[in-house]
Amino acid sequence: MEERPKPPLYNIVAGDILYWLCIIAAIICMIGPCISILFPENNVANPYKIFDLVWKGEKAEKIWVETTKEGKYPGPHFWIKNITKGDGITQLGIWLGCSCALPAAFISGLIFLFKREWIYWLISLWVSFMIFFAMLGIIEME
């Protein structure tokens, strides 16, 4: 039987980062809604009104207007200022999951750099920047 080739370090590092961040994100996403329902006052948006509006087919903009005290969408990173709130915790889970490719691409890119694989270092850097700029809302067509 032939000996198994050892997977390269960048493979293992990227795979493990994606895997563990997804697991952590899923756990946070399970706990967050329970806190939201249990403490309805402790939320950015009222969870008791959201589903009615969603099933009415209302647009996201209107849902945020009608369910938040400020009457507007607080932005994708609202969990930073509301980490003790139910939907702040939930948003952290989603945010973490949706950005897990950023550390995976960036750190595996560093390994490519040390291995002098320039082209893949550049590509991973490009991917990291794409995710980063998309997160900040800098890359927008509108």
């Binding site: 039987m1 032939e2 198994r4 080739p5 997977p7 390269p8 493979n11 990227a14 795979g15 493990d16 994606l18 895997y19 563990w20 997804c22 697991i23 994100a25 899923a26 756990i27 996403c29 399970m30 809604p33 329902i37 006052e41 948006a45 009222n46 969870p47 008791y48 959201i50 589903f51 009615d52 969603v54 099933w55 087919g57 996201a60 945020w64 994708p76 939907d87 939930t90 889970g93 989603i94 999951g97 949706c98 950005s99 490719a101 950023l102 691409a105 082209i119 893949y120 590509i123 991973s124 490009w126 991917v127 794409m130 995710i131 998309a134 997160m135 809302g137 927008e140 067509m141 509108e142």
Partner: protein, 379 residues
């Protein structure tokens, strides 16, 4: 090492899981599945005893039912999507658009979540086996990221500019894509397990993508070559735009493209496709996030369902007859395609069908699935 791999071959996966429950990956599998049972079943039952908060018209049980319901739908979609190797997005978005009154931007935002997470969670184990080629992932990601992002932006633009008419047109186009997929799955696709690449072009050679891996079924190390990298970029960009626009992911097309165009072995293409979709959708999902289409309490159970469904699906996949799953998928897509078309027609003011016709079509689709399975068994 030899002992554990022999043990792995002898025991079914669930026995192996219970025996090694304290070791990764079983430990995290038990934690996630256990927590899912506590939250989505235990909490649901507990919420029946909670009183409605003052000033609210809905009870905690009502909200918990929707949260648990979305989780179980996502679990089913993620499980089926993993078994079919196409991701969950291709099922979730069309089904939600056809049979719920939800706004299409919210559906597509949640669709991307559904499309990306079962692929992402599979990346860890695949990377350790060496079947996942990260260079191939990055190579394809260059084109896919741009396509998915443009598609997502286009979707938000169309929804804002065209309003209800745009919603109707999107549903009708998506129904036609679904119909195309039905024919694609009936035909089975032109997949080759180990394609033979005779000539490697300069462009593809420059990227030095191939990475040998140990192929369990052959019991040897597989060295492979790749070709036509530039053509793959064009194909992946187009697929990414469609996936980002309709929020349906692109698992149904990326794997086969890598296999047929690039000449990657089927398993390598499938592994790279799953990881690439997950990473690429991390770009495509942010315009929806920034537009406010990610409603936390709606999206969170979908995300959790995909992670649990992805993990369970990957283990069940080993002993499953793929052909039966394919028939089930054909039936689901056919039913969804019809639902999407009629919903689109209704929004455009063409015609409105009574519920009896939809139910009748559901029976026709179910009968077709049973007939296909019975025919396969006879063979």
């Amino acid at each position: 090492m030899k002992k554990s791999s022999a043990e792995a071959m002898a025991l079914p996966w669930w026995k192996l899981a219970f025996k090694n429950w304290y070791k990764p990956p079983w430990l995290e599998m038990f934690v996630v599945c256990g927590l899912a049972i506590v939250v989505y079943i235990g909490w649901l039952l507990l919420s029946m005893a909670l009183e409605t908060p003052p000033g609210e018209t809905r009870s905690p049980f009502y909200i918990s039912s929707w949260v648990s319901g979305l989780f179980f739908i996502s679990l089913g979609v993620g499980f089926l999507g993993t078994l079919c190797g196409i991701g969950g997005g291709v099922l979730w978005s069309p089904i939600a658009m056809a049979f719920t009154p939800m706004d299409s931007v919210i559906i597509r935002a949640s669709g991307l979540i559904v499309a990306m997470f079962n692929g992402l969670v599979a990346s860890g184990p695949l990377a350790r086996t060496g079947m996942l080629n990260l260079k191939l992932v990055f190579f394809a990601l260059l084109a896919y990221g741009l396509g998915a992002f443009s598609g997502a932006q286009g979707a938000i633009y169309v929804a804002k500019v065209f309003g209800k008419q745009g919603e109707g047109v999107i549903r009708v186009i998506l129904s036609l894509i679904m119909l195309f997929l039905v024919f694609y799955f009936i035909k089975g696709g032109k997949k080759i397990e180990y394609p033979e690449v005779k000539k490697v072009d300069k462009f593809t050679r420059f990227f030095n993508i191939p990475m040998p891996y140990y192929e369990e079924s052959l019991g040897k190390v597989l060295h492979y070559q790749l070709r036509l990298g530039w053509l793959l970029w064009i194909a992946v960009f187009i697929i990414g735009t469609i996936g980002g626009f309709f929020g349906m992911g692109a698992g149904w097309a990326i794997g086969p493209s890598m296999n047929v165009i690039l000449g990657a072995p089927l398993k390598v293409a499938a592994a790279a496709s799953m990881t690439m979709l997950g990473m690429g959708d991390c770009i495509g999902v942010w315009p929806y996030f920034i537009a406010g289409a990610m409603i936390p309490i709606v999206v969170a159970p979908l995300l959790a369902g995909q992670v649990v469904g992805g993990i369970l699906g990957a283990y069940v996949l080993v002993g499953m007859r793929a052909v039966f799953v394919r028939f089930l998928l054909i039936g689901t897509l056919l039913f969804t395609s019809f639902g999407l078309f009629t919903k689109g027609a209704e929004l455009l003011g063409w015609f409105k069908l009574p519920i009896q016709v939809r139910l009748g079509w559901l029976l026709v689709c179910a009968a077709l699935v049973f007939w296909l399975i019975a025919r396969e068994k006879k063979r």
